[in-house]
Symmetry: C2
């Protein structure tokens, strides 16, 4: 599991991503670039410790997706998964609210072993990518724990997985905090990429800004580095036709009193964004956006959708970079 020589070269495109939606675009980028040109800095705010194991759902989703191992039926976990562990664990009184497939469990077990042996999360992830033949960089946004906490209308502070899986996003959100963020450090690759004058583009994947991208932005220095970055920074709006393609984003925006619109996404990233990509269904919105806006099909079903969007986004970023020079 030695690192291929090309991984020692600097990536040319940096993507910031959460889980499923972000991983789809990451896969598109992975296909249209040389693999080692892509770096994906992945949200760790969903990470948690469960039955003694460090679970990193977004890292695993991106990893499984780039390795072609993701379960497209379930939308999470591994393809061809079996569930004997969970069945037996439940029969013996173990917790079953968080579903762990048999193969998936091996990733968590091995990760915990390596973490216990003093290996940082970024190195564990690099090793796993090596073993799976992934030649892109997948970086946990930080090696230190950053944990998304959902503050609910009924005055509870719910760790993300309890909100997301156990309570199925039902509680009304009134805000978010990011435990550990203040004392965390950003991944060094992420810092270096953002400071690299030859970086081609930064892509904010169509992920949830509150629970997928903000946990990255709250790591000290990250948002400033994005503001200072010389490359074009393009976000793909996860809001399509007044709804989120997946997950609780539309519900969250409503509960926080923001319009369920790509305008809210633009406002969220305004201080560092060069341009935004919105879906063709929202074409009429483009005229009202006060930042370069590209209208394109953003719903990714098959690989063709993903590579097309990846090319579109990269061309848009190149166009923005040319204009600013």
């Amino acid at each position: 599991m030695t690192e291929p020589a090309e991984l020692r070269e600097r990536p040319s495109v940096l993507a910031l991503s959460g889980g499923v939606g972000g991983a789809k675009l990451a896969l598109g980028l992975y296909h249209v670039l040389e693999p080692w040109q892509l770096a994906v800095a992945v949200n760790t705010g969903d990470d948690f410790s469960h039955i003694g194991l460090h679970i990193a759902p977004d890292i695993d989703t991106v990893m499984y997706t780039l390795a072609g191992e993701n379960n497209t039926e379930l939308g999470w976990g591994r393809a061809g998964e079996t569930w004997n562990f969970m069945d037996q664990f439940g029969q013996l009184g173990g917790d079953t609210w968080f579903k762990l497939g048999d193969g998936d469990l091996a990733v968590h077990m091995r990760r915990q072993q390596l973490l216990d042996a003093g290996c940082p999360l970024s190195e564990v992830t690099a090793r796993f990518c090596g073993a799976k033949g992934i030649h892109a960089h997948i970086w946990p946004a930080s090696d230190e724990p950053v944990r998304t906490i959902v503050h609910t209308a009924d005055e509870r502070k719910l760790p993300f997985q309890n909100y997301f899986v156990e309570e199925q996003c039902k509680p009304r959100a009134r805000g978010f905090s990011y435990e550990g963020a203040a004392s965390s450090k950003p991944n060094q690759g992420l810092v270096d990429a953002l400071a690299d004058p030859s970086l081609r583009a930064v892509i904010i994947c169509p992920s949830n800004p509150f629970v997928s991208i903000d946990p990255i932005l709250k790591i000290p220095g990250t948002r400033d580095a994005l503001r200072a970055c010389k490359a074009a920074i393009v976000a793909i709006s996860p809001i399509v036709g007044g709804n989120a393609i997946k997950g609780p984003l539309a519900k969250m925006l409503g509960e926080l009193g923001s319009p369920v619109s790509s305008r809210s996404i633009l406002d969220h990233y305004r201080d560092f964004l060069s341009g935004i990509v919105i879906d063709e269904i929202d074409a009429e919105l483009a005229a009202t956006m006060d930042l370069p806006t590209l209208v394109a099909p953003t719903v990714m079903v098959d690989l063709d959708d993903k590579t097309k969007l990846a090319n579109t986004v990269l061309e848009f970023a190149d166009h923005l970079a040319m204009k600013s020079n």
Copy 2:
């Protein structure tokens, strides 16, 4: 998972057992007795800690066998097992020399969780039996660690699983020790059963005397309690026609300079044994044995073989008890 009322009653038959061979006879006894009349005190000398989990191979074999969940094809582990965990764990650089099936792993994970929470091994085992609907008592011989160490001719001291699985019993044995035995305490149920004047019989299952039964006998007080026991104590010889049905027993006897014969088994248990059952293939040996010896078919292939041998052994024990009164 509350204990059925009948489990609070004292068992009438106590079996001492290792893994596969012993579990076969235990299953026979389980079928011919009322379930709660049977107690099986199981070897823990094979137990070890692996990838952070307490593995108890013999307890699990007896448990899976009485629950009807044992894998008869492999001769170990669970029926209908899948191996996704192990495949993925190995791909990521994890240890794979000790094969852990997906469902089997759940048992070890849950056991470790409960042990970490302060639950003794005997209570964990009782809970698992409850969950699996096993109405016999399965007792780890001790809650404290007793670990079989194989001393090899090339001066190594190999923990049992390293000898048995990793080195496939190839090293020449010159003796055994039982780490932790001196400071261990026997299971209280085992102590009570042996002292119970109404106990019907003690059955030494056809298990390896060195690595399955001796780790029980080395727990302080156990051998004395067997000597003092009022019930008939019957051993079923694991040596059939000059070989062991399974495992390294014949090889071990040879390496230790003992005849590969049921006579060696008799000598091993002589100080507390009331009688011995030997296989019909060794019938001519009976005349040379200086202890009551019953000749019977001891090779157990199907359930019928197991229940027949169980009945034979119990009748023999009853006969010996009657004679001694």
